[in-house]
Subunit: 234 residues, 2 copies
């Protein structure tokens, strides 16, 4: 009992599940992380990965597992079109995949939520989105049309990422944290401010941290998670 | 024992102490809040009040008591020159006092720290500063010349508040959180960004929240406190 008492209060064991569903002729692979012990649907965070990453690579798995471990929720990541298992077989190993079509990605996320709600994994009444860089771009297209998502942690995105990004941003109304890096060489600061200004959400906040595009700190990652936890927590 | 176990872990009783010290012919009144039970010097946060407020009025007492209650630290507020007990007796009751001289205010804060360190109330190895609006302006002048202050939570300030504010901001090197309100009618957004950009601290972050100058939320106040807690906590 002493050992148990000394353990962090919320360090839950995490189980990874392979996910696969079809949309038209497209087979979409993903991963779902859940607490080892669970009953019924749980609050769920969809994690959009960055360009050239996939459902596991880079920070994705770390972010996903941390939320399950510390919050006891479900997290989900998909391979975006052209990424991970869906890479063009003709592409070289170091080739960065093309940017996915945000409309296609949105449709895939929506189908994914339908599947996981039907299987009673996801509580669609407590659904959040987490995405930075390309994950934010794809998230903005999704959030603009998906009222089931109740809150979002986004960042490292600008006003020209895809054609209708400002129109989509203006349609988003859920509570939102937007994060940026002060010296981001890929996201001009003023364009990040303009995007934040455009979000339709009355309940929004911006965090800016020093550093270039990829300079994440644990503080930033913790703030993104805490924001979703405060909003989705029941 | 059951009642104790059910109580929030860190809801400590708070004691308020009157403070008074002299600097030249000037008598400076302040307040010190401490946990009811304490031994020896504690981490301490200096709280700079806003224009027209004083050592107790507005958010000052609430912010001060919350830090003591939740962190078990010491907090201190002074009446700035021309404010509180130091108001011009000829001024009308609704008259807003003139902006204090930042050099005078800095000297008073430094004397205050000396006094409280000598009385073994303040641990000068764990000293932070909290100030928004005029409290940030006065804080910038203090932080530029006071290496004993290890971290600062500032906000709602622009580049023209006093003559040397940008030069002072550039000399600040401690970890710093700077907060702004996106639609602040008294602090032009771009000038708040420029001020943030000027701070010499490598370890700095900016939080922006919707609303006008006085539109604080509990989220913002909690973030300012948490930042100091993370940096000064031992």
């Amino acid at each position: 009992m002493a050992a148990l008492d000394d353990a962090p209060a919320m360090a839950l064991p995490v189980v990874e599940h392979a996910l696969e569903f079809s949309l038209g002729c497209e087979r979409i692979p993903g991963l779902v992380w859940t607490p080892a012990q669970r009953e019924g649907p749980l609050p769920t965070v969809l994690i959009g990965h960055g360009r050239g990453m996939d459902k596991r690579r880079g920070y994705v798995e770390a972010v996903a597992r941390r939320m399950v471990r510390e919050l006891g929720w479900v997290t989900v990541a998909l391979d975006a079109p052209g990424h991970g298992e869906r890479r063009d077989p003709a592409a070289g190993p170091d080739e960065i995949p093309p940017k996915p079509d945000p409309d296609q990605m949105r449709t895939e996320w929506q189908a994914c939520v339908d599947v996981l709600a039907r299987e009673r994994v996801v509580d669609v009444g407590a659904l959040g989105y987490w995405g930075i860089s390309m994950g934010a771009g794809m998230g903005i297209a999704l959030l603009a049309e998906e009222p089931r998502i109740r809150c979002a942690a986004l960042g490292l995105m600008h006003t020209r990422y895809y054609e209708r990004i400002l129109a989509d941003a203006a349609r988003i109304t859920c509570p939102l944290l937007f994060s940026l890096h002060w010296d981001d060489s890929r996201v001009p600061r003023q364009e990040a401010f303009d995007l934040f200004d455009t979000f339709g959400s009355a309940d929004k906040r911006l965090h800016a941290y020093p550093g270039d595009h990829s300079d994440f700190t644990d503080e930033e990652m913790a703030a993104l998670q805490r924001f979703l936890a405060d909003r989705l927590g029941r």
